[in-house]
């Protein structure tokens, strides 16, 4: 329970940040035009990730899957920043 809670807080935070940043960066047209609405979605997204983390069968699985998700999200963000105009 504690392991899942910590995973949701500590890994859910960067994951949510990466996903929101990615959404801003990939937005068709002007990325700057959606900065505020996207940032508003950050806290609900993080909350959702924290709640969903409790659905993993074990703490170790939660940490592993969230770590993989973080790697994927940040890799995608890195790629997007290399190839798209963005902010």
């Amino acid at each position: 329970m504690l392991a899942k809670t910590l995973a949701g807080i500590l890994l859910g935070l960067p994951l949510s940040m990466a996903l929101i940043s990615l959404a801003i960066w990939l937005w068709p047209g002007s990325s700057e035009a959606v900065v505020i609405p996207m940032l508003v979605a950050f806290f609900p997204l993080w909350t959702g990730v924290m709640a969903a983390t409790f659905l993993f069968t074990s703490g170790a699985r939660a940490w592993a899957w969230l770590a993989v998700a973080n790697l994927g999200a940040f890799a995608a963000l890195y790629l997007a920043k290399q190839t798209m105009p963005g902010l």
């Binding site: 900065v35 505020i36 940032l39 709640a51």
Partner: protein, 525 residues
């Protein structure tokens, strides 16, 4: 949903509720009162003078004087417009080497923006957003808002399987826990949209700076901050072109901004704050912020050339982009400014209902863990009951007594601003001590009756002490004072009713409960 999942979410809901519940109770109680911030402010200052008609002309001279004495203010200096509640002073703001400075029309010297004095209304507001804890309190409330969001999600999920069946069920009867559970659920579900608004906007308002800085460095390589500035203000890119220039006055710029706003289709526009950049130089630009009615996000802004008054940019209800509309809506939704008086009453009632939600949540914790066959209750149940009664009811009593202190302080020669905050904290501390000593069952009754007396006294003593002011305001058709008096008396009646009910439970309720008063054992049958 699997039973094990349901149990996990129940545990999360319990713990997040316990962690955040106390802070949220204080925030909702104080926040409900803050819906009538202006009325309380007017009530709290019976001898306030009317705002002088020439204050904006004096503000013009004040800004020129500040820039002459503090060259750092040239880069950016702002000033508030008069408002019709008395603690609001026309105040200049600028950034000096060591932080934000303020100076009011009458003070004559700059102060740190942090340490201005708090009147009663401002103190209640402060209690709402930082629990009265300077500096770190606001971040604490931000974290509380995130935990609150998690409690909302998990609460909804565990209630989901029987949401429709139980929605309108309120089952009074022998099973008191069922009644509390029904009340907790029905208020939680029916005011869910309102709670979602506060969980989201509360976190944003408290943590926006931290969040922005984290995003700025972690994922945007420093490009977010400038974009955020453009996305939330109307100020275009500006350049200090040197030389000197005569600035249009705040009053003139405010009037021109209003004209431009009306021409752009805003229902109306009342300026409340404006700022200059490059004050007194060629290239000087001004931004006037103000509010329009008939919009969800009432805040708008107009940028003008500070030398010739040309309109450079508009961000107003009906004429703005998604960024400005969202930013403005965050404030409108949180502060309940998108409607009239009836909306403020709705927010007030939903705020009190929210406070009840957190209080009833704690009671459910106690009730779930109660030993049903013993008068003695486990230590954690006792501790929780003591904390709930001491902190929550202590806060209600503290707020009412702070109103009394504001009213009676001047009679003892004390400055109201100096007694309000210490009085509140002293009363809360005393209430917690009292609860430890008397045990929660009796202390709850004592505190409820004390709050009832204090609240009723707030209204009755004000009528007695400041009857001339009351009659004058009524004759002028202003209802802030009588409204505050009547609401205080009504809340006194409400607390007395709660006290009577709690005493009845203590005397006649289930004896195997933390809420039962010690009584003689019943004769064996």
């Amino acid at each position: 949903m699997k039973t094990s999942t349901l149990r996990t979410f129940t545990t999360v809901h319990t713990w997040t509720g316990l962690l955040a519940g106390f802070a949220l109770f204080v925030a909702f109680y104080a926040g409900a009162l803050t819906m009538f911030h202006e009325e309380i402010d007017i009530w709290a200052m019976p001898h306030a003078e009317e705002a002088r008609a020439d204050s904006m002309d004096r503000a013009h001279a004040l800004l020129a004087d500040i820039v002459a004495k503090h060259p750092a203010a040239r880069e950016q200096i702002g000033v508030t417009f008069p408002a019709d509640h008395p603690s609001h002073e026309v105040t200049a703001y600028w950034m000096d080497k060591d932080g934000w400075k303020t100076q009011t029309l009458d003070s004559g010297a700059p102060h740190d923006a942090e340490d201005h004095e708090h009147g009663l209304a401002d103190f209640v507001y402060e209690l709402h957003y930082d629990l009265g804890i300077p500096k770190v309190g606001i971040y604490l409330m931000g974290v509380v808002s995130v935990i609150y969001g998690l409690a909302l999600v998990t609460g909804l999920l565990i209630h989901l399987p029987h949401l429709l069946r139980d929605l309108f069920a309120l089952r009074p009867g022998h099973n008191l826990k069922r009644l509390w559970q029904d009340a907790h659920n029905v208020i939680g579900i029916l005011s869910l949209p309102f709670h979602i608004i506060f969980a989201v906007t509360g976190a944003l308002l408290c943590l926006s700076l931290v969040t922005l800085m984290a995003f700025n460095t972690l994922t945007f390589g420093g490009k977010l901050m400038p974009a955020y500035d453009r996305a939330t203000s109307a100020m275009p890119a500006t350049q200090d072109k040197g030389g000197t220039a005569t600035m249009l006055s705040p009053a003139e710029l405010g009037a021109r901004a209003r004209q431009a706003a009306l021409a752009a289709g805003a229902a109306d526009f009342s300026p409340d704050y404006m700022r200059y950049v490059h004050y007194g130089r060629q290239g000087a630009t001004a931004e006037v912020r103000g509010t329009s009615t008939k919009a969800l996000g009432e805040y708008g802004a107009v940028a003008l050339d500070a030398i010739d008054g040309r309109v450079l940019n508009l961000q107003l209800a009906g004429a703005r982009d998604a960024n400005h509309a969202t930013h403005s809506a965050i404030f409108g939704l949180h502060f309940g400014t998108f409607g009239g008086l009836s909306l403020r009453w709705l927010y007030f009632l939903l705020g009190l209902a929210g406070a009840f939600l957190f209080y009833s949540g704690n009671l459910l914790y106690v009730e779930t863990r109660r030993k049903r066959r013993h008068a003695d209750q486990p230590r954690k149940v006792r501790a929780m009951a003591i904390a709930t009664v001491g902190i929550c009811l202590g806060t209600c009593l503290g707020v009412s007594v702070a109103f009394l202190a504001n009213l009676l302080g001047p009679l003892a020669g004390a400055e109201p601003n100096a007694v309000v905050k210490p009085t509140f904290f002293a009363v809360v501390a005393a209430a917690i001590g009292w609860t430890l000593w008397r045990q929660p069952a009796r202390a709850a009754v004592d505190l409820l009756f004390a709050t009832a007396i204090a609240s009723a006294a707030v209204g009755l003593l004000d009528v007695a002490l400041h009857s001339d002011r009351l009659l004058r305001s009524l004759a002028e058709g202003r209802y802030a004072v009588i409204g505050t008096d009547l609401v205080a008396i009504a809340m006194g009646v409400g607390f007395a009713w709660l006290g009577v009910a709690t005493r009845r439970r203590g005397r006649e309720g289930d004896p195997c409960s933390i809420w039962a008063w010690p009584r003689a054992p019943e004769p064996a049958r």
